[in-house]
Amino acid sequence: MQVILFHLMPYADLDLESARRHPSVWVRLPNTHFDPVKGHKLYNRYLDELEYAEELGFDVISVNEHHQTAYGLMPSPIVTASALARRTKRIKIAILGSALPLREHPLMVAEEHAMIDVISGGRLISGFVRGIGAEYHTFGVNPTFSHDRFHEAHDLIVRAWTEPGPFAFQGRHYRVNYVNTWPRPYQRPHPPIWIPSQGSKETIDWASHPDRRYTYLQTFSPAKVVQRYLKMYRDTCAAHGYAAADRQLGWAVPVYVAETDEAARREAKPHLEAFRNVFLKMPIEMLLPPGYTSRDSLKNVMKAKAEIFEEITIDKAIELGLFVCGSPATVRQAFEAYWREMRFGNLLVLCQFGTLPGDLTRKNMELFARQVMPSLKGLGSAA
């Protein structure tokens, strides 16, 4: 199994009381809540944490893209991945992912990812996402064209990476006379492509197609939901006539390890609850604008609204498998049990979440890397 340290870079200095007076920290939380001096310290702390992961033996470090929110301070994962490419030597760097439909031109994504791949000597993993619903409100990109734009942007990027240029591209959303990307990516045929998702049959059908076989990552979902979607991915591969490799499956989950189960719950509680109940909170209209999902999916979410949108305690989060927390032995056993059920070849651990401060983040990373990760890496075939 590959173990990936995933970071969201939240604005951990957020005034939670003030933020709670707003419907969400997304889209319309006034940016006067952001203090650039505190931001300076946070960015450098977070980049240090990601760089430290190389020393601790993680296989991959990962950044992502979110806009106009205290949830994550990475409107451009290109900036953070670039900084990491120069400060690390061996570890792979995953952008999970670039929000293709939100970008004005996909060729810019092809170019930026290729640059990082070349600078890092082939250490890039390219993730492609559509951006979350809130970001369609932010940018005004029409969510009813989100899937179309995503697929067309993806096709253009992969062709730009793999076909000799120049060639012309005629799409519905993007038209280019000369596709001729400099630089070409370092890896052949191109960097691995991973597809993070909150769970969608349409995404699974597309990512698992024999022409693509992209790694599918289920993010921040109850363990039983993760299991359902990873099984759906394997079943879809089987229907396509091939067996999914474990490395095609991944699970992203927040994790906290401390000396004892009791200490872990006590230390993580306020920060995990801030993550779930403040940073992730948004109304359904913001999360799922029209066309972002199929109407059937939207109705399913509306039915499960209470479960999805209500506040949650740390105990409930652990019970649901939304969070893995405890002593090294507890966390190791939990992941080994989950792995036996799901056989994911990639585990993405979020070791900083919500307001978790730097000292606890480092302690968490160290205990996880030294006392949990070694046994997890041995699970399954080499990724």
Binding site: H137, G140, P143, P289, P290, G291, K299
Partner: protein, 258 residues
């Protein structure tokens, strides 16, 4: 006045059309919430007009054609609709997005259009004014903000909702987003060609419109100098629903002169 209901296929798209009354043809073009039922103002207008109430492609019981990508597609569809039914001298009444649609039709081809009644129409931008962000509102907020008289909103919210109505509401919302998400509720090029609208125009606006503030009425007046403007006090975004009698009087007086 009894309305009939039937399906009609135009441009490969089957639409649901309700029609009632007798007289000169009046085409009602609904807004983002659709036209799921015959409303009292339609009944009243049907005493004097041949009232046609189609559900737009992508709304209600009508098909969702692949070709529907923007308001221009819808305008060409309705020009085909007028030709197919051989309607002439049509009074087109459009509410909100439907008013925008009526203008998009009229700048292209007004040969079959006698005059326009625009009810809180979308379609243009105006400096310093912003339409409400209808896509961020919950269903309840949307209903509350549609009406000035909250008793009407209470009544609307108290109505039971069937699963079929939930499906239709999601479908309408999807098509409204496709047409009007960005640019939000307008066509940035339309204003350049509004001088092509030479038929008589009546603009009706609720003074307390929370979706498209009444300041838009002045912006339209500047672009359509020959248009008559009537602002209805104590009224929200849907004067035809909130002040039905007053609204029908305005339409009848305007039509009798036009």
């Amino acid at each position: 006045m009894a309305f009939t209901q039937h399906y009609l296929e135009i441009d490969g798209c089957r639409i649901n059309l309700r029609r009632g009354g007798a007289g000169a043809p009046l085409l009602y073009l609904h807004g983002a919430s659709g036209a799921p039922v015959i409303m009292p103002f339609m009944e009243k207008l049907a005493e004097r007009f041949d009232v046609l109430v189609p559900e737009h492609p992508g709304f209600g019981l009508s098909d969702e054609p692949d070709w529907l990508e923007n308001i221009h597609d819808l305008a060409y569809f309705y020009l085909d609709f007028l030709r197919r039914l051989d309607l002439r001298n049509v009074l087109v009444v459009g509410s909100s997005i439907g008013g925008w649609l009526a203008l998009e039709m009229a700048v292209r081809d007004a040969a079959r259009i006698r005059s326009l009644v625009l009810v809180g129409p979308a379609g243009i931008s105006a400096p310093g004014v912003q339409p409400a962000d209808i896509f961020l509102w919950s269903p309840e907020e949307l209903v509350r903000n549609l009406f000035h008289d909250q008793k009407l909103a209470d009544a609307r919210l108290a109505e039971p909702v069937t699963p079929e109505q939930v499906d239709i509401a999601l479908k309408n919302r999807h098509t409204a987003a496709r047409l009007a998400w960005e640019p939000r509720l307008h066509d940035p090029f339309l204003h350049k060609w509004l001088h092509r609208v030479t038929v008589p125009v009546k603009i009706v606006w609720g003074e307390n419109d929370k979706i498209l503030p009444v300041a838009y009425a002045q912006a339209f007046k500047a672009l359509l100098p020959h248009a008559e403007l009537e602002i209805i006090p104590a009224c929200g975004h849907l004067p035809q629903a909130e002040k039905a009698d007053r609204f029908c009087d305005i339409v009848l007086r305007f039509a009798s002169r036009g």
